[in-house]
């Protein structure tokens, strides 16, 4: 179980006074203080943990955010930023004595420029909302986390979100130009800009993935890209995970970087097939979904090459989509993977380690052994091209022992990822979930170095102080 720091002395007793002050910055419904209406803000995508905040504010302008931040800074009040609350690592989990700043009302698209290939949006615009705003001209915003219908760009920036297509297009950090943000002391600053590679320290890069610890992002300038002429998927199923892993190596080794290269193991194939009836081969030990882009002729050319490569690995089945509809059918099971596992087991933990892709067979074998040892089922789905694993550990939340075992199992998987040369989190962030595992990946002086940079931005550790770093060094 994950501990939260105790409230700062005196803050809870001043609740009414603090809420009154917040109302002076944000009118009307923009400040929430009553227990019932605070309820939706007590948790996020890591719903095993719940903690209602002191208050929630829903600003509509950067100036309101700055006013709240200045006040909280002066009064020594902790602040937790929140977008859509879809974090799978507890990135939006509040504190009892914290003011949550919810950015969801800052949802305007401020500018779209197709010739300069950029869009300026407020932090509360959803990921998919950006693509929806530009797709009529054939453009899209590239990073595509699974939660893209709900998750907001401000959260994407703070977690450096990835997605299934980042093998080709990169993660959030590779698709940003600039940010407007409010510092922990309440100053409005802009970093980056509406152009590439600003000279000076790369604040844009440091802020991206900083998990809401360095500032409150209120506006984001993103790169928008013209989409390809088309895209098509194929499915390749194999007799063993090791064989599928070798096929992935052979594809990359041939010089082809598919736009997506997804891997599912047998339990995941079965769960998805039962849910989506996508026509997945149930006798396969491992399955790849491979997507390529371009004109129809280019798709044919690439898919034929990939098919030839896969054919060398004694596949159980190779199915190349011949239409957009068939591609969608192939993707349908994968996109519903989390929901499909949710049907088998009411509760699951979604892990997110990354490993060197060459270690895949060994890691899957060890996860299988751990599954037996912990007595919990696991289904593996992951982004094979970049080694980002998503083991889904199934447990029963009504059984405390089952939850404890699931957490221990997950921690063991992440330790294994680090052991083989990988990392604790590829795209979900550390949040509170993996905070206490940071010492597995980093030495004490390395964590101290990162903390010192947090301190440089936030000397009093008021902004999201309970995330990313083990609590023992939290300044009192």
């Amino acid at each position: 179980m994950i501990a939260l720091p105790p409230p700062k002395p005196g803050i809870l007793a001043r609740r009414d006074e603090i809420i009154a002050a917040l109302r002076s910055f944000i009118p009307g419904e923009g400040v929430i203080g009553d227990a019932t209406r605070l309820k939706p803000y007590e948790t996020d995508g890591l719903s095993a943990y719940r903690q209602p905040p002191l208050a929630v504010v829903l600003p509509t302008t950067t100036e309101q955010v700055a006013a709240v931040m200045r006040y909280c800074h002066q009064q020594g009040i902790r602040v937790v930023p929140r977008g859509a609350g879809t974090s799978l690592s507890g990135g939006a989990l509040p504190l009892e004595d914290a003011v949550v700043i919810g950015l969801m009302r800052m949802n305007r698209i401020l500018e779209i420029d197709f010739d300069d290939r950029l869009a300026v949006v407020e932090a509360g615009v959803t990921n998919l909302g950006i693509t929806k705003a530009v797709e009529h001209e054939g453009f899209f915003y590239a990073p595509d986390p699974s939660s893209q219908l709900a998750c907001m760009i401000g959260g994407n920036v703070n977690m450096n979100s990835g997605g299934a297509h980042c093998l080709k297009y990169g993660v959030t950090a590779n698709n940003l130009l600039g940010l407007k943000l409010v510092t922990p002391e309440g100053e409005i600053v802009e970093v980056g800009g509406d152009h590439l590679d600003t000279a000076g320290y790369d604040w844009l890069g440091l802020m991206t993935g900083s998990e809401g610890m360095l500032g409150i992002v209120t506006e984001v300038t993103v790169r928008i890209l013209r989409g390809p002429e088309g895209a098509r998927a194929m499915l390749a199923a194999f007799k063993g995970t090791e064989i599928a892993g070798a096929a992935v190596d052979a594809i990359i080794g041939s010089g082809i970087i598919p736009v997506a290269l997804e891997f599912m193991d047998k339990p995941c194939i079965h769960a998805c097939e039962a849910f989506a009836h996508a026509g997945y081969p149930l006798d396969a030990e491992a399955m790849l979904i491979i997507e390529v882009e371009g004109s129809v002729a280019e798709q044919d050319f690439l898919l034929n090459r990939i098919k030839e490569i896969c054919a060398r690995f004694d596949p159980i089945s190779l199915k190349v989509a011949t239409s957009v509809e068939e591609s969608m059918a192939i993707w349908k099971g994968r996109k519903g993977a989390f929901g499909a596992v949710g049907r088998i087991s009411p509760d699951y933990l979604c892990m997110d380690g990354t490993i060197p892709t060459g270690e895949l067979p060994f890691v899957l074998k060890r996860i299988g052994e751990m599954s037996t040892q912990y007595g919990l089922q696991v289904a593996n789905v992951f982004h094979a091209g970049d080694g980002n694993l998503h083991p889904l550990i199934m447990f029963d939340a009504n059984n405390p022992d089952s939850f404890r075992r699931a957490e221990d199992f997950g921690a063991d998987i992440l330790k294994l990822c680090v052991e083989v040369g990988g990392c604790l989190t590829g795209e979900h962030g550390v949040g509170v979930e993996k905070r206490d595992l940071m010492h597995v990946q980093f030495q004490p002086h390395e964590l101290a170095q990162q903390r010192a940079i947090k301190t440089a931005f936030d000397p009093a550790w008021l902004l999201n102080p309970h995330k990313v770093f083990p609590l023992e060094a939290l300044p009192q």
Binding site: R117, H195, D202, G205, T208, G227, N388, E427, Q450
Partner: protein, 384 residues
Amino acid sequence: MNAPDTEAGIVAAVLAARVPLAIEGNGSKRGLLRPVQAAETLSTRNLSGITLYKPTEMVLSARAGTTLPEIEAVLAERGQMLAPEPIDVRAIFGGTQPATLGGTVATNLSGPRRINAGSVRDHLLGIRFVNGKGEVVRSGGRVLKNVTGLDLCKLLAGSHGTLGVLTEITMKVLPATEATATLKVSVPDLAAGIRALSAGLTSPYGVTGAALLPDSLTALLRLEDFSESVTYRSGRLRADLEKLGGVTLVEGDESRALWRQIRDAEPLAAAPDDAIWRLSVRPSAAPALVASLAQAFGARTLLDWGGGLVWVAGPATEAAHQAVVAATQAARGSHTLFRAPEPLRAAVAVIPDEAPALAAIAARVKAALDPAGLFNPGRMRAGT
């Protein structure tokens, strides 16, 4: 000059330092930005060698002093490349030593493919560096996706050796493309040239280079992929571009040579005593910027990145520099005084100043990494 051949040697040098140190690799970019106020030099040039290369995992690690030609040769054997096309500055600075990987990351100077594939920092996966306390700190790693903890890789990339001494670096590497072709479009004026570049970059054909030669009013658009794709796409793109001007096609080695020249700013044809600036702006702002600098001091220019990167050559005077700064500010862009005689580099803001709130944070970040102010003092801004 102290140039240890081990990381432990770098640590010892930092721990022993009593005066500020100039930090460099081969020193190929010593003439960039401001002159460093340091009596001693600590070089990573002898930290050499590739320590890990897994072509199917698309990763390569090397000690900081390993040279780019050495890395590129090893990658080429396996049909791979450093996708951001780092600049070779020897033509600009007149040096003979090739760039090291450490210097390449520390300066984050990407070439034409930046517009499509991303910058050097976008391909940086992991670093080891020695901080001002003599501690070896790691950030990132050797996997392609990693969001564990604060991303110090991005902070150190482009920090010009002011925050730490890079000792080992892991890069993402990509397949080198099989074929390449360049469409040359003759345009009537600069604005039409930018429109031609935009037409390419907003097409679905994956343009990987988009440059404009103002002297000859030629827009250049590069395609790179499997030969089937390059043939198909160059045909389609050519049909689109012919509406904007006469189009000719350059293929293979001729195309590769052309983009090497653009990468290294050779078409700028700066005179030996000219100053050179490198500006980053929104592409649509480039024509007005170029026109105002031509008017101010007869600036010579070369545009890359769809017009978003403007190389400028002109007299090495404070007046010319102030004109560049003013025009870049008007375009809301970012300037770098890339090459100039030392007195000019020491006297002016070689990169933009930061807003006071950011400058305060920058000073505290610098102190968090280099508390005694040992590394490259004054390199980026006076007094820091």
